[in-house]
């Protein structure tokens, strides 16, 4: 993104995670994976699961009948983020509010249910109620419907950088003045078919089967949840001094390959960030190729590593990593939010922390 356009501030945070539904930042205490109880199978399997909760108790008036968990979480997380931002939608032009949702697997639980109806009844006997809710874009649509938001509504995916690309698409829309407020959401739900795929592909940590912490050396533990950010042009915040800004996004780039270090250095304009926040896709900064890039860019300045509970959220864990970092950042000033991929791909957002 060029720097000639106005920067964008993160003004609200909401999430539904293994910590439950929360407005604002998330706790710093490590959380343990939970045992999966709803699938038949041999032995114990664990994942970072969202605990059951009553959505209407968190968001009064919210009706969730017939919705899958991902849509419910998106509705709750978006409501909590708007609440955290102090935005009263009755005071906002709702045609100027954009929703950008990032997901790797979409409504996979209902897709499984639709397949089960086909397996039971044949393709001629599938469930018409379930079908439209299998669309990956259904959660974002429900967010627009529930809040009455008539601005742009898009659902994005990217193997490694889904969350980051959602943030950047929203920032671009705000910078291009196609919206005044952006609600960025990212997340996925752990499903049986997804868990089994990871398992059969040999990608899971032994900690998925054994609660011994020493068994976490290789692989990852699947996670689930939806994180939400409210983003607004910084100039809006200046006009409302009572508003909090968690961070300001000054620029961002992502690419599938090429010269990440060179591009990030250009973004930094010769300065060294006071903090590097690592995102990641099952590859902690300290042990992956990211570490070299982090050292090259950030020198000896502090680094915040990815959160264990969000490592198993494929490309959609980025928002959780960012929220966790914003919950306990050690410094203010310029920070880089960085993720890399095996094929030299990268995503980087240049942030200003108040």
């Amino acid at each position: 993104m060029t720097s000639s356009l106005p920067p964008v501030a993160i003004t609200g945070i909401g999430s539904v995670s293994p910590y439950g539904p929360l407005a604002g930042t998330i706790p710093q205490n490590p959380i343990e994976p939970a045992t999966l109880t709803n699938w038949k199978g041999n032995g114990e399997r664990r994942a970072f699961l969202v605990p059951a909760f009553r959505a209407a108790e968190v968001v009064p008036g919210l009706k969730t009948r017939r919705l899958d968990r991902l849509s419910v979480w998106a509705l709750v997380a978006s409501s909590l983020a708007l609440r955290d931002a102090g935005i009263d939608l009755n005071q906002v032009d709702r045609s100027r509010v954009a929703v950008v949702f990032a997901t790797a697997f979409g409504c996979v639980e209902l897709t499984e249910a639709f397949y089960l109806s086909a397996a039971a009844n044949g393709w001629s006997g599938t469930d018409p109620i379930t079908f439209p809710e299998t669309l990956a874009s259904a959660p974002a649509s429900h967010v627009s419907m529930f809040h009455g938001l008539r601005g742009p509504n898009i659902t994005v995916s990217n193997k490694y950088f889904a969350g980051e690309s959602a943030m950047m698409q929203a920032a671009i829309m705000l910078r291009q003045r196609q919206a005044d407020v952006g609600i960025v959401l990212a997340g996925d739900a752990v499903s049986r078919s997804m868990y089994s795929w990871y398992e059969e592909a040999g990608l899971l940590s032994q900690a998925c089967y054994n609660s011994d912490p020493a068994s976490e050396a290789e692989g990852f533990i699947p996670g689930e949840g939806v994180a939400a950010l409210v983003m607004e042009p910084s100039e809006h915040i200046h006009a409302r001094p009572d508003r909090r800004s968690y961070a300001v996004i000054n620029s961002g780039r992502w690419a599938a390959g090429g010269q990440g270090a060179k591009i990030i250095r250009e973004m930094l304009g010769g300065s060294v960030p006071s903090l590097t926040i690592c995102s990641g896709n099952g590859a902690p900064c300290a042990t992956s190729s990211t570490s070299a890039l982090v050292r090259e860019i950030g020198g000896d300045n502090p680094v915040i590593l990815p959160q264990a509970f969000a490592q198993g959220l494929a490309g959609t864990g980025a928002l959780f990593h960012l929220i966790a970092a914003l919950s306990n950042r050690p410094v203010s000033g310029q920070a880089i939010f960085l993720a890399t991929a095996r094929d030299n791909g990268f995503a980087a957002l240049l942030l200003e922390l108040p």
Binding site: Y115, A136, I172, Q178, G258
Partner: protein
Amino acid sequence: MTDPHKTIVVTGVGVVSPYGIGLDRLQTGMLSGKCCLERTKDDVYPGFEGMTAKIRELPPLAEDLNARYSRTDQLAVMATQDAIANSDNSTFRESGIVMASTLGGLTEIDAGIAKDPAAWYRRPGGLLRAASYPFGHVADAVGEHFKICGPRCGISVACASGAVAIGLAANMLLEGAAPMMLAGGSDPLCPFTLSGFSALRALDPDPCTPFDQNRKGLNLGEGAAVLVLETLAAAEARDAKVLAVLHGWGITNDAFHPTAPQEEGSGLADCIGISMEMAKVSGDDIGYVNAHGTGTPLNDRAEANAYESAFRGRKRPIPVSSTKSYFGHCLGAAGALEAAITIMAIRSGALLPTLRLTNPIDSPGVEWLRGEVRRQPLPLAMSASSGFGGTNTVLIFGSGRA
């Protein structure tokens, strides 16, 4: 004076449709009035009998690629190949990619996966086939196939997906996110969607009749389309041929219902207004609308209402047609295919009629194109897309240089 750095142009169009590969085959087929919808029985799945538009001749990719790529991926790769080839483009490897699909790799999966996923994955090629499931995989497939290293983004916004991809790619160019963008959509025929629309009773058992008072529903087709987008400055710098200018685009949501459009078409009308404002044009400047026009009772009525509202005050009724009457609704590819058709109309000066439209919806502000192909200069035209979840997208294209 137009800023060439902020003017988005189309320098390549790639198409895979039931007419074959390439815009020329699409144009020849559509101008001849050929309809690709065919009655099939037990073809897509046992028990299905109805109309579909299938791509009959699809050259195979290399064997190893077929193993890794879903049919959705393959269509996208072929459309991209076509787009790159006809844009005379050797600089595409730095491009960004925004690729839309509603299906992703669902074509590679069957109902057995839900009963016992572990056993399903242990079947030969099972893990690989399932790996193509995420809709974002299509952008990666295109990127990996052509070794493109710019930013990649998968898009899924129901039936407006392909048009949304083009709008977002244009946004990314304005922000300097990449020097060039490949944007479009891909969706094949698949038991999953055919069964779903059948369960919703949204399918016309006969060839669809968009905007007809007796319309009964939609037919499904398959295809992919990809546009090469760049700024006018970049196109001029490499002396590229400009096929069209993307003057304006807009994305809105009805915020109304999971599957039904807002009855008055207010979301689409707002979207038209936003895109015309960006393009700095009025309703009188638009010469043709390639409509979403699915043929479902609710969509077509709402869409007609949107045109009545958005073009109110226009001196003459707005010419509108639905080209889904030629090869059905290609879901996530539809918006991109119809963008290609709109560009084709501008470049050829040929406005395609809606096939089989005998008794149009009563809508005095709309001139429903039917019967013969209309020949006229077409400086500006619009493509409109909508979808489940209330999404609307409008693209305004113009001829030649800005």
